[in-house]
Assembly symmetry: C2
C-alpha cells in the first residue's frame, strides 16, 4: 500500500516522519536492516531521490546508519530510539494543548474532549 502522504508539506519531511515512526513503533527493529532505497521509494510511490533525501536526513540525526554497499540499518542504540519516542510524545502533546488552548479550551475541558472522543472510537 502507498504511504499516507499529504500534498501540502514537503514529501521528504513526511517520509522522515513516517520512517521515524516505524522505528519507534518497532516495525523496523533496532539493528535491523531496512529495505533498499529503491524499494522503499517504490513502496511509498515516490522518486528514489526523494527517499534518498529523507534517509540521509535520518542518518544525519543518527537514527540510521549505512554500510556503504550492503544496506542501511536502524541504530542499535535503544536509548536513542527511546529518546526520539519521548521527544515525539512531548511534541505532539504540546502542540495539541497549544491548539486547544488557542481555541479557548481550559485544561479540564481538553481532558473532557479527549475522553469523549476516545469513548466514540472505543472499537478501534
Amino acid at each position: 500500500m502507498p504511504w499516507e502522504l499529504d500534498s501540502d508539506r514537503p514529501i521528504y519531511t513526511q517520509l522522515m516522519e513516517q520512517i521515524e515512526l516505524k522505528v519507534c513503533a518497532g516495525l523496523y527493529p533496532p539493528g535491523g536492516r531496512l529495505p533498499p532505497v529503491r524499494e522503499l521509494a517504490r513502496e511509498a510511490a515516490v522518486n528514489p531521490n526523494t527517499m534518498q533525501r529523507a534517509l540521509a536526513g535520518l542518518e544525519e540525526s543518527g537514527l540510521l546508519y549505512t554500510r556503504r554497499t550492503s544496506g542501511r540499518f536502524v541504530t542499535e542504540n535503544q536509548d536513542m530510539i527511546r529518546a526520539v519516542k519521548s521527544r515525539l510524545v512531548r511534541e505532539h502533546t504540546r502542540d495539541f494543548l497549544n491548539k486547544m488552548g488557542r481555541l479557548g479550551f481550559t485544561h479540564p475541558e481538553i481532558l473532557e474532549a479527549v475522553s469523549s472522543l476516545m469513548e466514540e472510537n472505543k472499537n478501534e
Copy 2:
C-alpha cells in the same frame, strides 16, 4: 508582532488557519470588519498577494465576505463559526489520538501523558 509561520508548509495555508483561529477565538468577532489586506499582509510580514489568496480561500468557505470597496467582514452566522470551531476541535483531537496510537500508546496512557504535561505547564 509577526505571525507564527512555519517554513515547511505553504504560507497561505497557515494564514488561513490563523485567521480561522482568530475568528473562532472571537478576536475577530462575528460581523466585525477585518483590517485591510495590505495591513494584514504587513502585520504578518507577508506579500499582499499571499494574504489575498488566504482571504479568498476563507471567503470561498463562507467564513468571510467582502463588500467590494468598503472592506472585508466576518460572517454574522454564529452557527457557522461554532461549526468551524467544532470541526477544529474534532480534527485536532483525532489527529492527536492517531499520532499517539501509532506510537503504541493506549487510551489510558494518552490521558496520563496529557495530564502530566498539563501539570508541568500549570503556570501558563
